[in-house]
């Protein structure tokens, strides 16, 4: 395993009490594989990624263990590996690049820091990197500023920055959400290609199940700071076991389905300062029983690689019976 997160908790002190944004999350990704982390905004996906990078504000209290390549990540190690052995790309390509420096300089900076390349060599390597992310006319584009790039091209520059030092782990936080659909497909295909070439482990954070189906090997579904279901991607789509996953899949618009209304899950995400005592999805769950409201379910394995945090598991049998 390149990345193994074990029982991660992240808490923030707020004016209205402690907010536990991540509550006992465990994840693992192997070299050359993509783990998709799926969930609504506020489910703790981004906070999990930022905790891995060590980019949370100093006020965050972090518990549990994060292990990269067999060694626990301490704050010192995070500082040293950030941008080198582990890298991250963000959702907003329009604002994530520094407007005052050229694209080439911004890629070269990572190489100067982690590869100790002199400025000239770093810039040449940056041009090569921009070519690898399929930016046409890279030598000229390297001398241009972010405002001269389109959104898709900026995200390519971000990917070039992230992959410049051949990281073992890439955290991609909604990398295509801000881009239009055709550009999304290009960027994700590019990430797949680069991952195959380098053997980088990818954590792909998204709320788009279409993206998951096409690009992920494994999926972790998060709800209200917890992983509620974990399975290989194909299995999750064929046989979802958690009511929340079932709801999410029902909420995927099917192109063939015609003009029907989008399905949605009734209710809203709970207040994380004051979560329900039992299963956090219970208030919105059509399958909830009294135990669900009283007691929080752990992740229960259904098969060797499929687990779900639901007292009513295996849910597929109930669904079939209905």
């Amino acid at each position: 395993m390149v990345l193994a997160i074990d029982d991660l908790t992240v808490e923030f002190a707020t004016d209205r009490g402690t907010l536990r944004a991540v509550d006992g999350v465990s994840l693992a990704v192997a070299s050359g594989k993509t783990l998709a982390v799926v969930g609504e905004s506020g489910s703790g996906k981004s906070v999990t990624a930022l905790a891995t990078m060590g980019l949370l504000p100093g006020s965050a209290r972090i518990g549990g263990r994060i292990v990269l390549d067999g060694e626990p990540l301490t704050p010192e190690r995070q500082r040293a590996l950030r941008g080198g052995a582990m890298a991250m790309i963000f959702q907003e390509p329009m604002t994530s690049l520094n407007p005052a420096f050229t694209a080439g300089e911004q890629v070269a900076e990572a190489l100067r820091i982690h590869r100790n390349l002199p400025p000239r060599a770093a810039f040449d390597a940056a041009i090569a990197m921009l070519e690898r992310v399929r930016i046409p006319d890279a030598a000229r584009r390297a001398r241009q500023y972010p405002h001269q790039f389109s959104g898709g091209m900026r995200q390519r520059v971000m990917i070039a920055i992230a992959l410049a030092c051949a990281p073992r782990l890439l955290l991609a936080d909604e990398p295509t959400t801000a881009l239009d659909v055709t550009v999304q497909a290009q960027i994700l295909a590019l990430l797949d290609t680069l991952k195959r070439e380098t053997g980088t482990a990818v954590v792909l954070i998204t709320h788009d199940l279409g993206v998951v189906a096409d690009h992920a090997d494994d999926v972790a579904v998060m709800y209200a700071g917890r992983v509620v279901e974990r399975a290989p991607a194909a299995r999750l789509f064929a046989q979802p076991e958690h009511p929340y996953t079932v709801g999410l899949l029902g909420a995927v618009p099917k192109l063939a389905g015609g003009a029907g209304r989008l399905a949605s899950i009734a209710g809203t995400v709970p207040d994380m300062r004051n979560p329900p005592a039992g299963c956090r999805f219970a208030p919105r769950c059509p399958f909830a029983i009294s135990r669900c409201i009283a007691e929080q379910p752990p992740l229960i394995p259904i098969t060797a690689d499929h687990a779900t945090a639901c007292w009513r598991a295996p849910l597929s049998q109930i669904l079939e019976a209905a």
Binding site: L55, G84, A87, F90, S96, P99, A100, E109
Partner: protein, 315 residues
Amino acid sequence: MLRWLARRFAQIIPTLIVLSVLIFGLQQLMPGDPALILAGEERGDPMVLAQIRAELRLDRPLPEQYLNWIGNVLVGDFGFSWRIREPVAKLILQKLPVTFQLASMAFIIAVLIGVPAGILSATRRDTPTDWIANGIALFGISMPNFWLGIMMILLFSVELGWLPPSGYVSLTEDFWESIATTIMPAFVLGTGVAGVLMRHTRAAMLGALAQDYVRTARAKGVAERVVVWKHALRNALIPVVTLGTIEFGRLLAGAVLTEQIFTIPGFGKLIVDAVFNRDYPVVQGVVLATALIFVALSLVADLLYMAVNPRMRQA
């Protein structure tokens, strides 16, 4: 770029025309008759007064006086001082380097104090460092220059005897003596500007540090020191540069009181003496020169803004 420059210069011309009319017109509203002052002892003699008025063309209609003045200015002739009997252009060229030296030193002091203090208080927001820096900035902005000047003279010249209390020695004459005569007034002028720069740098840095690209830089593994001094500061300086240029213009124009206190023979002293003596050509010349400096500096501010802001370059 060339088209932009051409357009920018075209904008300057109407500005200057309006300015020259204002300068000439406002001066006519000043109480006191220059002929009376120039006549001195003979002010009771109407013949002498009429003669002076004719000589200085004060008996001509105002529009004619204005056109006469501005026509000469356009060919570089700022006229003669009525009182000192010297060309106004020569007086300006004599005093300008003095004021320029003073303003430059004040500005350097202001930047050296204001910008780092602004950065420090932004990166240590809501800590005692931030509060102290803000307190000092407020002190610098609100303290009257004349009071601070007098206090400094009392301390460094009268009590300690380290620095001359007044007077001026030019840079070419004796470099260190020149610095010694200007350091106190420069500090007095600089503190006010430092406060302004500090507040603006702080606000701009707080804005820049909250940007996504700062997070990107941290994710790249950039050291925190470099994140602040390179990634954030480079963007935060864009508004500060523009402000700094305007503040420099104010230093060049507005040192009247401080120059009086330290008896520095600069622009401020020249214009005060000219106003008291109703020496119209000098007043007009100095105010016009100040206005020209301001117009030039605002052009410099625009050019600097383009230099530090890549987004402006192909406009």
